[in-house]
Symmetry: C2
Subunit: 306 residues, 2 copies
């Protein structure tokens, strides 16, 4: 893995990481001719061939910022690959279940039919149900000290649990048609989207053996990035179109879902985004050049159009 | 925990273990007034207040058969509690998802309305999605050597993954209306029901530090028990009634699902059950008195009426 040295290096670094994690995911997913073939084909359809891979990028960027000497570089890189794959598998499972008719009932994802449209509802549910333990299986194979594997497992399990991602989803379901306060909205997003994004950053730090000072910086960075990501999502739902997004635009507004834009308005949402980006930059500044990729991710998140 | 000394002790031992795991589950599940309350209430509804707890009993029984000296008994008992809770949480999640309309579409479970009937489909899906990482979270808290935690995590993740429980479910969905061969049926059940039952036995052995000879015996026992459980399930679907089962009787036959009874016939199914029980008893005989609870579970499974 080539480290990011300057802000200009970042796009190439990201492109490289996106290609690389695609290969890793391709390798960790069961082959599509193994029993049961339909399930494995659908799992591969759900995970491969698309996605921004922002969570994987966060794992790698946090890993770069945290590397300590004294450990085999190849073992650490493999461990980061597995950690990045685990968060992408968990993210993919959450999308498959969110798209189901009993949830968001969406037909389009990453510009393609959603899993339950391409296959059926039962398979879509089982795809999500199987991607989740695959993530923990992959994580358990990381070639780092077992105590770090246990830490990583616990972190990730909590990030996607009832007080993390799935809990945020439950609040979101409950909130349709209700007007949430700005604080309630923030809590919902911290759980639904923020928890896994934050866990991705911390996971990179754990795997690469971050010092406690670096871990603290990563936590502040992760918290700001997690929210910023959702603010951008809400802005794009209003300002972008379906072709660019690769998923249905205007969906949240149409279904009367509370968003940053609907609660704070567009101007205040953009202001909030600016201060979250500043907060994230400040958090990683003490890490110096090693944090160049983390800084690059901030710019990328703020300026993304899908 | 009082060990089983004779076959007569077993019913009391089981009653004690069932009560105990109910308390453990009550403690590890999030309180129903914590955010998000509806999800947490539904998770508690899905897990508590019923169930045979056969998987938890297998964890404890295998633990008893495997205890080695030199480790704190209270730490080992706590670890077995967490392991038993993890398998019960995973089993409960699988039932909630299996009962959904896009799967078996069942309204009754353990004599009560299923989760999607009591709440709604979205909550039922999220309950399953949240119970699964809770299981891995609890497992990560076992007070045993981190390397054993990692082993246990990997074992359990594979047992419920696409080549275990969820994979068996996918084959089952695919098989409705098709006539499976006896070998295909066996493979489906080994994955769908057998994998988690087997993992429960092996988990107890891992946590209690079983010797490699004991582990081998546990593997043979687990394999036989896993199949025997399903054969009994299929027999009961035909011979029992809904009130006794606490779930809809005759469902498999009505929906033209392949079962041991439909493929082998009742007599051959009972014969198969007898030889699996013998196989399981032979496997644990070398463990002597320590395996009394494991032997008790065999009798219990063979003679259960729900």
């Amino acid at each position: 893995m080539n480290a990011v040295r300057t802000r200009q290096d970042f796009p190439l670094w990201l492109q490289d990481r996106v290609q690389h994690i695609e290969e890793v995911l391709n390798n960790v997913l069961p082959a599509d001719d193994t029993v049961p073939p339909v399930l494995h084909q659908a799992m591969r359809y759900a995970v491969l061939g698309g996605g921004k891979r922002i969570r994987a990028a966060l794992v790698y960027a946090a890993g770069e910022a945290s590397f300590q000497g004294g450990v085999s570089v190849s073992a650490q890189e493999l461990a980061l690959d597995y950690a990045a794959a685990a968060v992408e598998l968990l993210h993919a499972y959450s999308l498959v279940h969110d798209d189901l008719p009993c949830m968001d009932d969406d037909n389009l994802r990453r510009g393609r039919p959603t899993v339950h449209v391409q296959y059926n509802e039962a398979i879509a549910m089982l795809v999500g149900d199987a991607l989740q333990p695959l993530a923990f299986d992959i994580l358990s194979q990381m070639p780092v000290a077992p105590a770090l594997v246990v830490q990583a497992t616990q972190l990730l399990a909590r990030a996607v649990g009832s007080q993390g991602m799935v809990g945020g989803q439950a609040i979101d379901c409950d909130s349709v048609g209700n007007r949430l306060s700005s604080e309630q909205l923030q809590q919902m997003h911290r759980m639904k989207t923020g928890a896994l994004l934050e866990a991705s950053v911390l996971l990179g730090g754990i795997v690469a053996g971050a010092s406690s000072a670096t871990r603290e910086g990563l936590e502040r960075y992760a918290s700001a990035i997690g929210l910023a990501f959702q603010v951008v999502d809400d802005i794009l739902d209003v300002t972008s179109d379906t072709a660019t997004l690769g998923k249905t635009a205007g969906k949240d507004a149409a279904s009367d879902k509370p968003t940053y834009v609907s609660i704070l308005g567009m101007d205040a949402s953009r202001e909030l985004l600016g201060s979250l980006a500043t907060e994230a930059r400040d958090a990683v500044r003490p890490m110096g050049d090693a944090a160049a990729a983390l800084a690059g991710v901030i710019d990328y998140i703020v300026s993304r159009d899908r």
